[in-house]
């Protein structure tokens, strides 16, 4: 937490509001870049804390709680908001004061959460945001009247234009913030239950009287409470009382939850009738009838953006732009990063004398750092797009359009963008799954995302396609056809497993697709950039350390132990014996040399090389030998490392001419033979290897991000096992069937 930097006396404010009410904009406006982003322990919910300064320079700590529609939480994000406000989280003390933000253009529904929070009896400041848009819509809002009715400061505000911030800061620095004057009629049928639960919450759960009453009301609103890690459970006594009331009501068919929600909306309705003056000509008395002008503009846009034909055209155009930006545009800064790291390596090369340490720094540490920051351009570009799509309101439309398609495999429309992004790189894709509220849908999306063929697989596919075709120039049709086949296999695998997981392992409540379609708004560049920066920072800080550590482990595996000096040929013998069926397996021609050459290589002698040999019995049924095994192991650093790994194993001299190097590598693997003189890379093996790369989880960086996004190693390891298991199974079937058919 950032409170360490501020005096202990700085009051802690919680910022609460509905999604789309401008809460992030307000938080950014109040705190600037003085923010700390982390995670609530045990849940993948973002914890944002910032410091704001009053007009007199006094620091205030602000906790930006996740957006919520109600304290009856339906997602982990909302559950954290609920638990912090009710003092249920040991890791976050109950905030001293609460700032509620309500969208003035949609006051009635926004006041529902405010109303629940006023129950808590804590000091509250209510911000009416987007007053300019409300005025445009012809709504006149009597803030002073609302202040009088609720007994708390009510601050009209336009966070996007920095209006009302001074008034808000003045209110925040008041020492004498009044408690809300908040009385509403709890339905008579429920009143005894509320009292009994309140008494128990005070006695058995050590809650303050008003907080206990608010919690009692919440328990009676939410028939299916969502528990998350870190949330203190109810005492046995309170649970018993709650259950006995529920049993009684079930018996006499009392709709307790519905009664309570209706009573609350009735109270809100009366309030809104007094404070919102409808525009001239509003045909009925219903409060907050419409924020007309913004809705009219939104409707005009949506008439096209969700049109049966144009909707798809626009959707496809936006998605294609986003995808190719990640895929190609990111290549430019990635080139800079590579050049920069090459320069650093060059510098280090001069400074540190040749030897093990030299190699550790250049091939281990610097390569590891490069392996981390090389992902940044893709992550930043994706989150730039996501930020724009979210702040304009199009994100909800994309989910609206795609929901039907994604529902076929049990997901909802919000899974589409994470999966699409994964075609460029699974790392930003997995991170983008944060936009999915439903925890099981988020997990399923993360689990299947790496099946999408990412850009790191491309060089491997291209090498294998080149080796597979006998001609020197690969016919375009063959190349495109095989590439499409690989993309289709990965996509099919992702959808199959999404469907399977939703049917079995992660079967949950029926999918919830109750989503607000906020009016279109102009994007807030500052907010988008801050979010983009945070994503990049989180990646480097949380996943980067793991990736760096694993890169160094991989470097060690590929370099140790060193072959004994002057005994280059020695390790060769056991290897060949282990590989060949007999000591004198027939050799058609002396060109079986490649295998002899490689065995002298330090790589073959290293732990990675030995692991490749250990792996051979396991991968032999797929048509792979130990040399391919080494490539598979080294691919964990990044899949395209397979190519350089093959270059080392088959002793391809790297030259400055990339095309020539590629052709050499192709020729070398075409020429590679098994100990019995047969070709190693037959067309069937090449195809099978490509299929293996489609399905197998071979990327420590993705695993590190999955670990971070799912809150532990459990799901990351599950993903490693099930994806690689699938790869093995599919390749086994393909190879054995192919052999049986005579390929």
């Amino acid at each position: 937490m950032s409170t360490a930097a501020t005096p202990r006396t700085a009051p802690v404010y919680a910022l609460v509001g509905n999604p789309n009410c401008g809460k992030s904009t307000l938080f950014n406006a109040l705190t600037g870049l003085k923010q700390k982003v982390g995670n609530y322990p045990g849940v993948t919910v973002e914890r944002k804390v910032g410091t704001a300064y009053t007009q007199h320079g006094q620091p205030l700590t602000l906790i930006d709680l996740p957006g919520a529609y109600s304290l009856a939480a339906r997602s982990p994000d909302e559950a954290v908001t609920r638990d912090v406000l009710l003092g249920r989280r040991a890791d976050t003390p109950m905030p001293d004061r609460i700032v509620c933000i309500a969208d003035a253009t949609n006051l009635e529904r926004n006041l529902y959460l405010v109303h629940q929070i006023l129950d808590l009896g804590r000091p509250v400041v209510l911000v009416l945001n987007m007053m300019d848009l409300a005025a445009q819509a012809g709504l006149q809002i009597r803030a002073a009247r609302l202040e009088h009715e609720l007994g708390i400061p009510v601050i009209p505000c336009e966070a996007a234009n920095n209006k009302g911030l001074i008034e808000l800061k003045l209110a925040l620095s008041r020492h004498d913030l009044p408690l809300p004057r908040h009385a509403w009629d709890v339905p008579a049928a429920l009143a005894p239950a509320v009292s009994e639960l309140q008494a128990s919450l005070i006695a058995a759960d050590a809650k303050a009287p008003l907080v206990a009453r608010a919690e009692a009301l919440l328990l009676l609103t939410d028939p299916d409470p969502l528990r998350v890690t870190g949330s203190t459970p109810l005492s046995a006594n309170t649970t018993r009382i709650l259950e006995s009331w529920k049993t009684r009501w079930t018996a006499d068919a009392t709709d307790w939850s519905g009664t309570l929600v209706s009573a609350r909306y009735d109270a809100i309705g009366k309030l809104v009738a007094q404070i919102v003056v409808q525009p001239e000509g509003a045909e009925d008395g219903h409060a907050a009838r419409a924020s007309r002008s913004t809705l009219e503009l939104s409707d005009k846009i949506d008439a096209v953006a969700t049109h049966p034909v144009w909707g798809w055209v626009i959707f496809a155009a936006i998605m294609a732009t986003m995808f190719f930006s990640i895929f190609t545009l990111a290549g430019i800064p990635m080139g800079w990063i590579e050049a920069l790291m090459a320069a650093v390596s060059g510098l280090v090369d001069h400074v540190i004398p040749q030897g093990a340490f030299h190699s550790l720094v250049i091939d281990g540490a610097i390569a590891g750092v490069e392996g981390v920051i090389i992902f940044l351009p893709q992550i930043l570009i994706l989150f730039l797009f996501i930020g724009f799509l979210e702040s304009t309101g199009y994100m909800a439309r994309a989910a609206f359009i795609m929901d039907r398609v994604m529902s076929k495999v049990g997901l909802n429309g919000k899974s589409f963008i994470p999966l699409l992004s994964s075609y460029a790189c699974a790392i930003p894709g997995v991170m983008a799954a944060r936009t999915i509220e439903e925890p099981k849908d988020r997990l399923v999306t993360i689990l299947v995302a790496p099946f999408m063929s990412c850009s790191a697989r491309l060089p491997v596919y291209l090498l294998l396609i080149a080796a597979l075709v006998s001609a020197n120039e690969v016919p375009v049709g063959t190349q495109v056809g095989l590439m499409l086949l690989m993309y289709a296999l990965g996509t099919g695998g992702a959808f199959f497993f999404a469907w399977l997981f939703k049917k079995t392992l992660l079967r949950g409540a029926p999918p919830l697709m109750i989503m607000e379609l906020p009016p279109y708004r102009l994007p807030r560049f500052r907010d988008v950039l801050i979010q983009m920066w945070e994503r990049g920072f989180i990646f480097v800080k949380r996943a980067g350390t793991v990736i760096l550590a694993l890169s160094i482990v991989l470097w060690f595996l590929a370099n140790y132990p060193k072959p004994p000096e002057g005994a280059a040929a020695a390790p060769n013998q056991p290897i060949v014996e282990a590989v060949s069926p007999g000591p004198d397996a027939p050799r058609a021609e002396p060109a079986a040399a490649p295998s002899a050459v490689t065995a002298e290589d330090p790589l073959a002698y290293s732990l990675a090389g030995r692991a490749g040999r250990l792996l051979e019995p396991l991968i032999a049924p797929l048509g792979f030998d130990w040399r391919i095994g080494i490539g598979l192991i080294q691919s964990f650093a990044a899949r395209e490392v397979f190519n350089s790994s093959m270059s080392v194993i088959f002793s391809v001299q790297e030259s400055d001419d990339e095309a020539a190097t590629r052709a050499q590598l192709r020729d070398a693997i075409r020429a590679a033979e098994r100990p019995d003189g047969s070709k190693l890379f037959t067309p069937l093996v090449c195809l099978n290897l490509m299929i293996f790369y489609v399905f197998a989880m071979q990327c420590i960086s993705t695993l590190a991000v999955v670990k971070r996004e799912t809150g532990g190693w459990k799901w990351a390891l599950f993903q490693l096992v099930y994806m690689t298991g699938t790869a093995w199974l599919v390749c086994f079937v393909v190879y054995q069937a192919g052999r049986a058919l005579g390929f």
Partner: protein, 73 residues
Amino acid sequence: MTLAQLAVGASATIRAYPQAGPAFTRLREMGLLPGTKVTLVRTAPLGDPIEIQVRGYRLSLRKSEAALVEIAE
């Protein structure tokens, strides 16, 4: 008649829907209560989900849920 059967552009009043289930608790809290007026604004390009106007804002929900919401025109 249910919300799923409402024609695009038509309005109706909510009568009742199931008491149980997280989806319906949320729908109630989003302001869809017996007596609330709703208007079907449009359906998604593939026919599902639907977009409704309720209490001055726009909400989308799937037809599977809408089919359990009883309405009166």
